[in-house]
Amino acid sequence: MKKLLLLGLYSLSLLATSNYEVAVKSDAAISGYEDASSQMHMTLINSNGQKRERLMKMIVLEKDGGDKSLMEFLSPADVKGTKFLNYEHVKKDDDQWLYLPALKRIKRIASKNKSGSFMGSEFAYEDLSSFNVDKYIYEGDAQVLEIDGKKMYMVQSKPLSKNSGYTKQIAWVDAESFLIHKMDYYDRKNELLKTAVYDDYKKISDVWRIGKISMKNHQNDKETILIWKEETIKNGLQEKDFHKRVLKK
């Protein structure tokens, strides 16, 4: 009987998957795109249901030490041509510049505070930065759940950065594809702040790419929907496409 119990526990420990392992596989599932180019449609919905549309063009360069990205605003008309250049870093603050076309001015931005709202949306800057396991602490095993007949891992992580707006994040990850389907964000008071629902995953050149994220803020009842369109990857973009010179181009 004792032997049987020990064998059972041994099998369970073999089957258990740590939060960290799931996160690493989840990272791997969406990595390898080298670079991406897309149009981003952002819909801001206030608590009364009123909608505002934003349109952006974005290119990203995948890099081990942190991605580089360039975003150009296409609408509303008064911010058309405004550009935002971001060099992500895992171990220090990101380098960020904003180009204001009306003044022809490049402004340096202090990126320490990652919890600030991106363009008045429910997304914080840190929500839009690339996923990197080194930015989080993972402890213990992932819980296994079954949602709508699908096996999911529930993965808990804590941001390493003291400047994050979150104390923890809980992700629901498909056990087969390791793609994230939902993410809960807990604020500094450890209360549920936002939920992001990930949709419309597409496989482009054998790499999974997200098509839509709906971010619902539970505390102010606002929502933002972000949709990626006309996305292409492995376009051959290089470092020079993310040089500061592109801001004035």
């Binding site: 990126s111 505070n113 010179r245 181009k249």
Partner: protein, 412 residues
Amino acid sequence: MIVRLSISTLLLGTSLLCDVEIKGHLDLQAQAYLTHPEQKHPDNYTAMAQIELGYLKDDFEAIAKLSAQQDYYDLQSSSDHNDRSFLRLDELYAKQDFEDSQILAGKSIRFWGALEVDNIVDTFNPDDLRTDLFDTDKLGVWNASYTQYTDTGELSLIIKIDEQDQPMAAYPYVYYLFPEYVFYDKSLQLEKSRNRPSVFLKYSGSTDTEYALDYAFILENGYDSQRYFTSDGPLNGSPVTFKQHAYLVNKAMTYNTLVVGASLFKMEALYADVIDNKLISDFYHLGLGVEHTLTQVYEQADLGLIAEYYKYDTLQSHKYSDLDLFQIFQNDLFVGLRYSFNEGNDASIIGGAIVDLDYHEQSYYIEYEGRLAETFKLNLDYRYTEPSPDTLTAFHIMGRHQRLSLKLGYYF
């Protein structure tokens, strides 16, 4: 043959037009001067428009930008006329990018600087003095440049080939800089030819260090952006004409931004070695600033705390002083706040006080900016200036001033 040529030309024209991007805005502005010198206008109504046509094909870009302004009083009788209306070509240039370099030629506008209130090194383009004194409205400059890019920066050789006249609004516009009996002749007086090249060598870059630094150094040989005025008669109340003069300098400039956590430390500085001018002394100008941002002070709103200090001085005592040169930021301190709502309208409020530590002048302002119905932009501001009681500064000549301003812009 002619028909075929016409069709080809039409097709080429249509194809080119397809690549042309048009953007611009139309603005209506109303200003009420609650406190102002007695004989000057008590208010002002202005319509403004700007349109930009851009052609972009691969690494080639061509830009044309036009501005127009119509002042209400310029439609009235001649005594109210204040010469603020114009149609102006701001930019007309072509730019070609190569692998590690770029060439640009034409009429263009550039920006140099890091500070918020006054960019003392932003000297490439002169300002048009027919628009709101508190707005920056630059005149395009004919120039050519070659830029070589490195991994972390760029080196540019820029040659300015024309010195612009600087038009100014006329009396009784509230921001006319001189007394009523002074007539301003805008034709610029130069030491050499108007087309004597001004040469700029600029190197700028960013460091990839723990505390990131953006830096820029500029050397200039040519006409200075600071100008001086001479009168054709004594200033005793009889009509006189003022002429604007440009002189030659060797100038070194720098502007830098250092990022330390949530704070930006900024510095702009310049030193001008004036070449053989009997009236104008060598001078320096320094600006230091810090901007610290507190995020989510209320819901999603951010609060920026800004402080800046400016120091200007001439180095030879028997020549024109800062007062003769209408230098405003000669020993001035600015403290201000920027409240960004961070919501769908991109609304913000910025306010602050500028205190002149030498001449006991104060200037206060608060400005709201936000978007309306997605295509309109609203600006509201209030300003109050208390001029020096006993020193002949630019604000003293302009008189005590209090205004309310409303601007509504349609963007397309």
